[in-house]
């Protein structure tokens, strides 16, 4: 074994690429994830999030490039990696026809968790998933939120160093999603490195750092706050009773990069450097100058801005 004890780095990826025929699903992606970090993959469907995770977990061979997970090389040492990682896919992937306990027992056995340690981990999983009273129920009967927490518990039975979560909360209601994220934060505090993919912006907000992926390319990587601050354009919220009529005119204005409806308001992205002309822009589009006020961009705005600057269109 040539495990490298790099202080800090749990995941390292260098020029990771995967092609399916002519289609490049993941294109020379490089990044590092520190130990105990919650690292988010944000991007639309088809951006390459799942493909990247599959390569790092050994489910898919990279076409080129390399990486390390928990100190072992991808893909050569994926057999060693497997016992050190947990994986939860976007599809609920426990056995519906087995009971809660039978699922726990199966995955405990597969990961070599036995004896007292198993009893302890089983109890932990049941209480974490709030299923202590439902251990004998068929898993298929559980509400989705419980299933997802159980799946998380099953992928955590062996207390892995690195946890890969591929859109773990898709389809789960907001309350269950929040509870799920509380768990993720607890795990990270205990030292587990977490790589999580999502297309929910508010989930991306609670990551330590996020990587923005589009069309297989990594277009930005930083903390949510830095990404927002680094956005060159300013966003203005425009309040007007005629928002629907005004938004089209604004969008065509040369000083406006983009304008879109957000509820009853318009969010207008102003060309960098043109901020002083906002009043003028509004007036020439038939709106009062005081209708606009600058707002802090959302991650979605950041994402769209990054894609625009990268010169591409958003997939999906």
């Amino acid at each position: 074994m040539n495990r490298q004890e790099l202080p800090g780095a749990s995941i390292e990826v260098q020029d990771l690429t995967r092609r399916f025929g002519d289609f490049t699903a993941v294109d020379r992606v490089s990044f590092q994830v520190e130990e105990g970090e919650i690292f988010g993959f944000l991007g639309p469907n088809g951006a390459g999030k799942t493909t990247t995770i599959k390569m790092l977990t050994g489910l898919l061979r990279p076409t080129s490039g390399h990486g390390r997970v928990a100190g072992f090389r991808v893909p050569e040492e994926s057999a060693l990696i497997r016992s050190r990682i947990g994986y939860m896919s976007q599809r609920f992937s426990l056995y519906d026809d087995l009971t809660v306990d039978e699922n726990i027992e199966l995955f405990g056995g597969l990961y070599g968790v036995t004896g007292d340690r198993f009893d302890e981990r089983r109890a932990w999983t049941l209480s974490m998933a709030r299923l202590s009273d439902a251990a004998d129920r068929p898993t298929g009967e559980l509400p989705l939120g419980f299933k997802q927490r159980l799946a998380l518990g099953c992928s955590m039975l062996h207390e892995p160093e690195v946890l890969f979560l591929d859109e773990p909360t898709s389809g789960v209601d907001p309350r269950a999603r929040r509870r799920f994220w509380d768990l993720i934060h607890k795990l990270a505090e205990a030292g587990t490195t977490i790589l999580v993919s999502t297309h929910y912006m508010e989930e991306a907000e609670s990551c330590d750092r996020i990587a923005l992926l589009n069309r297989g390319r990594l277009i930005a990587i930083d903390t949510p706050r830095n990404l927002r601050q680094a956005m060159p354009e300013t966003i203005y919220r425009v309040r007007t009773p005629h928002a629907v009529a005004a938004v089209g005119r604004l969008a065509r204005d040369p000083a406006v990069v983009d304008a879109a409806l957000f509820g009853r308001d318009i969010h207008a992205v102003i060309e960098p450097g043109a901020e002083s002309e906002v009043g003028e822009v509004l007036r020439r589009n038939g709106l009062p100058a005081e209708a606009a006020s600058p707002i802090s961009p959302s991650l979605e705005d950041v994402f769209v801005s990054c894609v625009r600057r990268a010169g591409g269109a958003v997939v999906g």
Partner: protein, 388 residues
């Protein structure tokens, strides 16, 4: 050590799922019963009570004696009689009769005077199997009647009168030779005795292929396969965990079918159970590897089912299960040598009916073992490759 735990947990999980799923349970328990009943009762190539239409233009004690000789053994029964040609044709056309017997006028006179005479036998060829067998029985019975009758006439006349009875296309049975046919191993030529042991081969093959391929493909479809693949489970462990329960179930079914065959259908078992079990073990490996190969090329259960159909029909037809391999055209006869079911059926039938042992069957054993080994090797490699 931990590998063994992983495999045993996987086996336990497989068994739980198999016995919990009503659909799988039906496949496992109902299909052997249905096939046993079908091949024990319904599929019957025996000639028994074959419907016969008699057109007797002679209407004498002589002609009635000939008809009686046919019905006496129970192989034929008179389904109708008339002297009009149209009635006979209609009976055959509408399937009311399989055999038509035409006795010409003057039949008795010819027989009694020792002149050669003839009767006509019409056979419905649309059911070639029964038709051929019935034709054979009928010709033999009629010829024997002719020989016996001729001898009596000669004895009565006290003179060497050469009486013989011939039929068109079958003038070969000379009066002097008494042909006595005896079928060994299955003296009454009951097709059930031949078919029931073969059902074992069919069930073992279907089960090991079906359960293996569906078991793997269902997990792929559900997404649970990925969850297993990211675990420390190796491809070999996963394969064992998936196939061991299937092999166990196939063995249990073999025992069940054998016991029912012996007790209910009274099929003789003259051989050594050890030989049968050994052959079944090897044959199951061959079936499992076919199932695994199908699983590597199918991404949905539907595809796996279609793959099964593609494989199963040629395998059954080229096995000697329903149609004897020896009568196939040369090319197909050769092709059937590559069919594990053919070799297994030869072993099963020989063990049941002839009491054959390893020394008699070593060629079939060696071939089957070779096939199982090659199949398993190929399946393992394909399987391992399809996993990453």
């Amino acid at each position: 050590m931990s590998g063994r735990i992983r495999i045993s947990r996987l086996v336990r999980k497989e068994l739980r799922q198999i016995f919990r799923d009503p659909r799988t349970k039906r496949i496992i328990f109902a299909s052997p019963v249905i096939q046993l009943l079908a091949f024990g009762y319904a599929v019957n190539t025996d000639v028994r009570g074959t419907a016969t239409f008699v057109q007797d233009h002679d209407r004498t004690a002589e002609s009635r004696s000939l008809v009686e000789s046919l019905t006496a053994a129970g192989y034929f029964r008179v389904a109708g009689a008339s002297t009009r040609d149209r009635d006979l044709t209609e009976a055959l056309d509408h399937g009311r009769a399989v055999i038509g017997l035409v006795i010409p006028a003057g039949f008795a006179r010819d027989v009694q005077s020792g002149r050669p005479t003839s009767v006509q036998l019409l056979v419905d060829g649309t059911n070639s199997n029964t038709g051929t067998v019935a034709q054979g029985y009928a010709s033999r019975t009629i010829a024997q009647w002719g020989v016996a009758r001729g001898r009596e006439v000669r004895a009565a006349a006290g003179a060497p009168v050469g009486a013989s009875l011939t039929m068109p296309g079958d003038a070969s049975l000379p009066g002097g030779v008494d042909l006595r046919v005896r079928a060994w191993f299955n003296p009454d030529l009951v097709s059930r005795v031949y078919n029931v042991p073969a059902v074992i081969g069919l069930i073992v093959l279907l089960m090991s292929m079906l359960l293996t391929s569906l078991g793997v493909v269902r997990e792929r479809e559900m997404g649970t396969l990925d969850q297993l693949l990211v675990s420390p489970l190796s491809a070999g462990e996963l394969m064992l965990g998936k196939t061991l329960p299937v092999a166990g179930i196939a063995m249990a079914q073999l025992t069940l079918v054998t016991v029912v065959g012996l007790l209910w259908f009274q099929v003789p078992f003259r051989g050594d159970p050890v030989v049968l079990l050994a052959a079944a073990g090897v044959f199951i490996l061959a079936g499992l590897s076919m199932g695994l190969i199908i699983s590597t090329i199918s991404s949905t259960q539907q595809e796996a089912f279609l793959g099964m159909f593609l494989v199963v029909f040629p395998v059954i037809i080229l096995s000697g299960f329903l149609y004897p391999v020896d009568t196939m055209p040369y090319l197909f006869e050769r092709l059937s040598l590559a069919n594990p079911l053919r070799h297994f059926l030869e072993i099963v039938r020989a063990v049941f009916l002839k009491g054959a042992g390893f020394t008699d069957l070593w060629v079939q054993f060696a071939t089957l073992t070779g096939m199982a080994a090659a199949g398993l090797l190929y399946a393992t490699r394909r399987f391992a490759r399809s996993m990453v």
